[in-house]
């Protein structure tokens, strides 16, 4: 089981689905950002799994996974800064109360 690509890819798919649910269903902006991190991790797991099982991708997949991690760190920095800036203005982290653009 640990020697087949399919099991890792299925695990990655399930983790991605959990992240999708969190992003769609949570009201808190920071919880949504955490769900995005879960989805990025799921994609990274798929990349690393391909790297471990496909001989021609062996080193490349790890390099790409490291780059994805750095981009995820940049995304988290900017995303959380935006959430804190909005919070300072609106006094709530709940996204369904950010109705100013709709009104």
């Amino acid at each position: 089981m640990s020697q087949s690509l399919d099991s890792y890819l299925a695990l990655s798919a399930l983790l991605f689905a959990v992240g999708t649910f969190g992003f769609l269903a949570r009201r808190n902006a920071i919880a949504m950002l955490m769900s995005i991190e879960l989805m990025l991790n799921a994609v990274n797991l798929a990349i690393v799994a391909f790297g471990a099982f496909v001989p021609s991708l062996r080193g490349d997949a790890s390099v790409i996974a490291l780059v994805v991690m750095a981009v995820a760190a940049a995304e988290a920095t900017v995303g959380l800064a935006i959430v804190i800036a909005i919070y300072r203005n609106r006094r709530t982290p709940l996204v369904d109360e950010y109705t100013q653009m709709r009104e």
């Binding site: 769900s35 991190e37 879960l38 690393v48 920095t77």
Partner: protein
């Protein structure tokens, strides 16, 4: 003392047992992140989730990625998110309503997406997939500084831009904007 070749009584290999344990823990902690009512606990479960994923990377034979996972995710991103949670905690504690009213639709969509993805990846033949093999750190380092040196530098610039952008976005406005902060709710 040496371990037996297979798990006693079950007959599985140790790697299979590790994979099962790590996969269960990974999905369980991810569900705790998504479903937990208290957002601080969600953040702490997220650290556990990242740690389990580092274990999966180690099981896949990429120790460098596992180490980077621990350093970047557990060391940096989790701390960042925990600080953001503490900065945006409202006085009344966790909100009574954790999910949107349309959460059932999101649940259906996520279940459909998960089963679809899992079915597709398991029913596809991967013609290039061969035997599992570990990746040496030396190979990664040589690739990173030869073929991938341009992406490497671009990521450095991107991180610098993110740092500057984060500071710019999160810094307090000048006092002249103060009346805007007191708008009626």
């Amino acid at each position: 003392m040496t371990l037996p070749q297979t798990v006693p009584f079950l007959g599985w290999s140790w790697n299979d047992l590790l994979f099962l344990v790590l996969a269960t823990a990974l999905l369980g902690t991810a569900l705790m992140v998504v479903l937990g009512r208290n957002i601080i606990r969600s953040g702490l479960w997220m650290i556990a989730c990242f740690a389990t994923l580092a274990g999966v990377y180690a099981l896949l034979g990429t120790p460098l990625v596992a180490a980077a996972q621990v350093l970047v995710y557990i060391g940096a991103i989790s701390v960042l998110i925990l600080f953001a949670i503490m900065l945006t905690q409202t006085k009344g504690g966790p909100a009574a309503l954790v999910f949107h009213h349309q959460a059932w639709a999101a649940a259906i969509a996520a279940v459909v997406l998960g089963t679809l993805l899992a079915l597709v990846v398991t029913s596809t033949e991967w013609p290039l997939a061969g035997e599992y093999a570990a990746t040496s750190v030396r190979a990664i380092a040589q690739l990173l500084f030869s073929d991938y040196v341009l992406p490497f530098e671009i990521v450095g610039v991107l991180l610098l831009a993110a740092v500057i952008g984060g500071v710019f976005l999160a810094k307090r406005d000048e006092p002249r904007d103060e009346p805007h902060g007191e708008r009626p709710e």
